[in-house]
């Protein structure tokens, strides 16, 4: 499953928001990736997610593959669109 999301977090995917997002991604069995422009990374890796350099308003593509994909994509997309703390 795939969904394009616009990042809502004021500070983009900085350390704290990225940690929150990655922790949530790890909570799912599914394989989760996040892409920006042509770069795709493992969404369960904070180091990789940070290297995307994603900022507020950026379009990112969330891709989820696995048994809990449907629940995962809804929750993770909602997180990315929201403030993430």
């Amino acid at each position: 499953m795939e969904r394009t999301v616009t990042l809502g977090s004021k500070s983009g995917l900085h350390a704290r928001p990225a940690a929150v997002f990655v922790q949530n991604a790890k909570g799912f069995q599914s394989q989760v990736t996040l892409s920006k422009n042509d770069k795709t990374v493992n969404a369960k890796s904070i180091l990789s997610v940070l290297t995307l350099g994603a900022e507020q308003g950026d379009q990112v593509v969330l891709k989820v593959d696995g048994d809990d994909a449907e629940v995962a994509i809804d929750k993770l997309a909602l997180l990315l669109e929201g403030d993430l703390g």
């Binding site: 350390a15 704290r16 890796s45 180091l47 940070l50």
Partner: protein, 174 residues
């Protein structure tokens, strides 16, 4: 001229230069190699687990931005890609110290090259996560007990371990 008397290990007369043996200064670990891959993978797993446990303890006593920083640091130490990359380097013959230092340095460089100044500054956090694991591999930690900071080692009085005749336990005295 200084005369030093030693113990003869063999009969005869020898003339040459005398050397004082001291522990080696800190070395660049990134070139360290090993043939014992399985041992290094286990060491790395254990060190990562210990670093995580220590960060959990620190975080439970922290609040606000400090807690957030420690949480991000814990995610970095516990990163699955960090483990995968390090295990691959260990399999290629590097020690756990070399592998973790190389992989964290690589991520740090990628972050440092980002246009976003805040993210670029996170490069140092990534290096710190690497140093944290290396410290655990050496049987110490990155944190210094407040009552020991700057006081020097109780036996030699030095703050750096590398010139100490007794390196044991030195890293907690900086």
């Amino acid at each position: 001229m200084k005369v030093l008397r030693g113990i003869a290990a063999a009969p005869g007369l020898v003339i040459g230069n005398a050397y004082v043996i001291r522990p080696a200064p800190p070395v660049d670990v990134t070139a360290q190699r090993t043939v014992d891959t399985a041992v290094e993978i286990t060491r790395l797993e254990r060190a990562t687990g210990q670093a995580n446990a220590r960060l959990d303890t620190l975080r439970s006593a922290a609040s606000g931005p400090t807690a957030a920083m420690l949480e991000a640091q814990r995610e970095m130490v516990d990163d699955p890609e960090l483990k995968e990359g390090s295990d691959a380097l260990i399999a290629a013959g590097f020690t756990a110290e070399a592998a973790i230092t190389r992989v964290t340095a690589d991520y740090a460089e990628q972050l440092a090259n980002l246009p976003d100044a805040y993210l670029a500054a996170r490069a140092e956090d990534v290096r710190e996560a690497g140093r944290r694991i290396v410290a655990e591999l050496r049987g110490t930690s990155l944190e210094v007990r407040l009552d020991r900071a700057g006081s020097g080692h109780p036996r030699c009085g030095r703050r750096g371990w590398y010139a100490c005749p007794d390196r044991r336990g030195h890293d907690s005295y900086r």
